[in-house]
Amino acid sequence: MPLALAEPAVPHRVVDVHGWPGVRGRLIDMGFVPGAEVRVVGQNGSAVIVELLGCRLMLRRGFANHIHVQPMV
């Protein structure tokens, strides 16, 4: 499921990253690689705040939707 739809505060794992090369490359650089643990910690109508690799990142929803995640079991 897209990261923007992930349940807040619940740890998820990155499954895949889509988007055109510039967006995708930037996301990979920021640590959104398959297997990485990510958690939504805040959101508003236009953006989400996620915790990844121990720091907080703000992403626009359109951007967050390129990142596919699944809940960690």
Binding site: R24, D29, A36, G54, L57, L59, F63
Partner: protein, 705 residues
């Protein structure tokens, strides 16, 4: 390796100077370290061809001079933004003797990503584990020796704010820089990809590309496999016979993608993070976990959907109150100081040209500008506090929704907030916005954020025509009006001249920190100094020019004989060049309620908005009999304003909107690389100022104000 140190001129003279590139993520404490290393020996310039700020500084250590160049803060060396391109090109083209990568010890995994790229580049690297005290407070114990061994580069623990570890760092920089100690470990990209990297590396070697490009062949191979557009384009352009290699790489990329189910850039990024995770697993132990996290706690409140906006507005209100309430007293002191100076000069100089130049032109002009230094200091102090504490990026998140409605994003908010201080750094801050159209739109509307130079004009006019209780509210209203106009104009621009989708973005929210006094003072001082320097140079010059335009040519002597002193002063001003220009344009400004004096002041304001105040000072106090009568009283009694607040309010609105100063126009030209956008900026701001002022004055008059 082909890039032997011996080919560099700095290497010849026994390496008495070591060139150090200071790199690191934003928020890793790079600026603090730079200040701690260089002290006052700094020089600020620009990187050639672009306007990214380049800070350099020197420090001596045991007979060696370290020349330190502060690279822009970046997360990676892949060229997605101007900052990253600049950082990478500096390391590749100017080949510093050593790269010092500043890493936030409490946030190792993300910060080491940049380090892996320097290791791949195969340049001498020293890693600074900054803020080890914070990491310890978080319960992280880092075995720096083991980490150094695993990464293959020296690792120095440090606390840049206190200077802990400074000596060890300097020692290591000198050693690594002099001997050009390269990384001892190469990052491996897995059994699937490694053979392809080796294969491409060999081909790079065969063509001798490494010699001609001057970079490590393995790094070049990795970049080609990553499909790094900058490297591929550069190669195509500089080495025609490389096209075969590029074709070959394309085949390999397709092959890797089909075998691994992922393209090489994903595999490479993944392996870099894997390499870091592996090293951290061994060298870092979490001693105690689950302690109360302050950042967590504050964020749940300030980024809350309901509480976020009121908190944001309260913070802005607080900032305003502080700037204006606390600034009032020292302003008074400076004002009386300059008055005394003017009085002293009048008493000791013979009346005439020289006295007029010094008293009215120079002391009056520069004094009128320096009076606002307390306000400006406080404003920059507040902005520095918001930046350094970590709230700035939260504020960007909170306003992102609103910004998205007008086609901008939260990041555009930062230049706009800085715009309240000075439009020049605001325009420069637009660089952090990746998307071109967003960037231009923000740049075009940022001048509508009332800069500190406009504040003197508001204080003068509001103070003269409104009660002390009302003046503050009127000024706040003008500021708010600027914000509303910016929103409207941004919406219009995004739907007319700069249409198109918004590129989404990523922004880090750094942990909250108590800003250090030193950091705040440096920030505040640097920015205020710009203002003071402007007062000493551009404004001094403008004051003298304006004084000249206002006093020359003198009216014919026979005309003056019959006149009273006040009439003579009036005749002087009317007869002058400035008066003539003002009169010529007056018909256009008449519908706004402006006479030639206001028009003349506004023209002078092109140089810098503070000059409006000094020009009014000259226009309304020339030949004045009552020396102690303040400018505000002079304005109240002047027929220009008919004693009505409406003209003053209209003038404030006009000053808010029309062309920011020449420095801003020059900065926009530099930032956009051409005259198109600065000219557009001049045109639209003047047009808008005229229309809005017309509405304000005509509607106000009709309502009987």
């Amino acid at each position: 390796m082909s890039n032997e140190a011996g080919t560099r001129p700095t290497a010849d003279i026994e390496k008495r100077t070591v060139v150090v590139a200071l790199a690191g993520n934003p928020n890793a404490g790079k600026t603090t370290l730079f200040n701690s290393l260089t002290g006052a020996r700094q020089h600020v310039g620009n990187y050639p061809g672009v306007t990214v700020e380049r800070k350099e500084g020197d420090t001596d250590f045991q007979g060696t001079t370290l020349h330190i160049v502060d690279l822009p803060g970046t997360y990676s060396l892949t060229p997605y933004s101007l900052e990253e391109v600049v950082a990478r090109n500096f390391v590749i083209d100017e080949r510093p003797d050593v790269v010092v990568d500043v890493v936030d010890a409490s946030n190792l995994e993300r910060n080491l990503y940049l380090a892996t790229q320097f290791i791949e580049l195969d340049v001498p690297v020293v890693i600074v584990l900054n803020m080890v005290d914070m990491a310890e407070a978080k319960g992280l114990r880092i075995d720096t020796e083991l980490l150094s061994e695993l990464l293959g580069v020296p690792v120095i623990p440090m606390v840049a704010t206190t200077g802990f570890g400074r000596r060890e760092l300097l020692q290591e920089i000198v050693r690594v820089g002099r001997e050009r100690v390269r990384p001892k470990v190469a990052i491996k990209f897995g059994n699937e990809l490694e053979p392809h990297i080796r294969n491409v590396t060999e081909r790079v070697d065969q063509i001798g590309l490494d010699d001609r490009m001057g970079i490590s062949p393995r790094w070049l191979a990795i970049k080609l496999l990553e499909n790094d557009s900058e490297v591929v384009d550069d190669l195509r352009e500089r080495i025609p016979e490389a096209h075969q290699l590029i074709e070959h790489v394309e085949q390999v990329r397709a092959h890797v993608a089909s075998v691994l189910g992922d393209d090489p850039e994903m595999v490479i990024g993944d392996r870099r993070y894997g390499f870091i995770a592996g090293a951290c697993r061994r060298a870092v132990t979490q001693v105690e976990a689950g302690r109360f996290d302050v950042t967590d706690f504050i964020d749940t409140i300030v980024t809350n959907r309901i509480a976020g906006i009121p908190i944001f507005l309260a913070a802005m209100w607080l900032m305003f109150e502080m700037v204006f309430k606390l600034g009032a007293a020292p302003m008074g002191w400076i004002e009386s100081g300059f008055e005394a100076l003017g009085g002293l000069a009048s008493a000791h100089l013979p009346p005439g040209e020289l006295q007029s130049l010094i008293v009215d032109g120079i002391i009056g002009g520069v004094g009128g500008v320096l009076v606002f230094v307390p306000n400006i200091l406080l404003l920059f102090l507040a902005i520095a506090f918001i930046e350094d504490s970590g709230y700035m990026s939260r504020a960007a998140f909170v306003v992102d929704k609103v910004m998205s409605h007008i086609g901008l994003h939260g990041k555009s908010f930062i230049p706009m907030l800085i715009g309240f201080g000075c439009t020049v750094p605001a325009v420069m801050a637009c660089r952090t916005i990746d998307d071109e159209k967003n960037r231009l739109t923000t740049m075009l509307v940022a001048p509508l954020m009332s800069c500190s130079a406009r504040l003197p004009v508001y204080i003068l006019l509001a103070g003269a025509f409104f009660s002390p209780q009302m003046a503050g509210k009127v000024i706040f209203g003008v500021y708010l009006f600027g914000v509303i106009l910016a929103v409207i104009m941004a919406y219009i621009f995004r739907n007319t001249v700069l249409p198109g989708e918004t590129t989404p973005f990523v922004m880090e929210l750094p942990p909250y920190r108590m800003p250090t006094a030193r950091g705040l003072l440096i920030h505040m001082w640097e920015r205020t100094w710009h203002y003071v320097k402007k007062a000493g140079t551009v404004i001094l010059l403008a004051s003298v020019i304006v004084w000249f335009l206002l006093t020359h040519p003198a009216p014919p002597a026979d005309l003056l004989v019959t006149m009273s002193e006040n009439e003579a002063a009036q005749a002087h001003a009317e007869h002058s060049y400035a008066g003539r220009i003002g009169r010529a344009i007056e018909p256009i400004m008449h519908p706004l309620g402006f006479d030639w004096k206001i028009t003349t002041s506004l023209i002078a304001g092109f140089a810098a908005k503070e000059v409006i105040v000094s020009t009014m000072g000259t226009l309304y106090s020339l030949g004045e009999e009552a020396e102690d009568e303040s400018l505000q009283a002079a304005l109240r009694n002047s027929p220009t304003f008919h004693g009505r607040p409406l003209v003053a309010l209209t003038m404030m609105v006009f000053v808010l909107i029309y062309v920011p100063c020449l420095a801003v126009v020059a900065t926009v030209r530099k930032e956009t690389n051409g005259w198109k956008w600065p000219l557009f900026l001049i045109g639209y701001t003047c047009g808008l100022a005229w229309i809005v002022s017309l509405i304000v004055y005509q509607v106000g008059s009709a309502l009987g104000y």
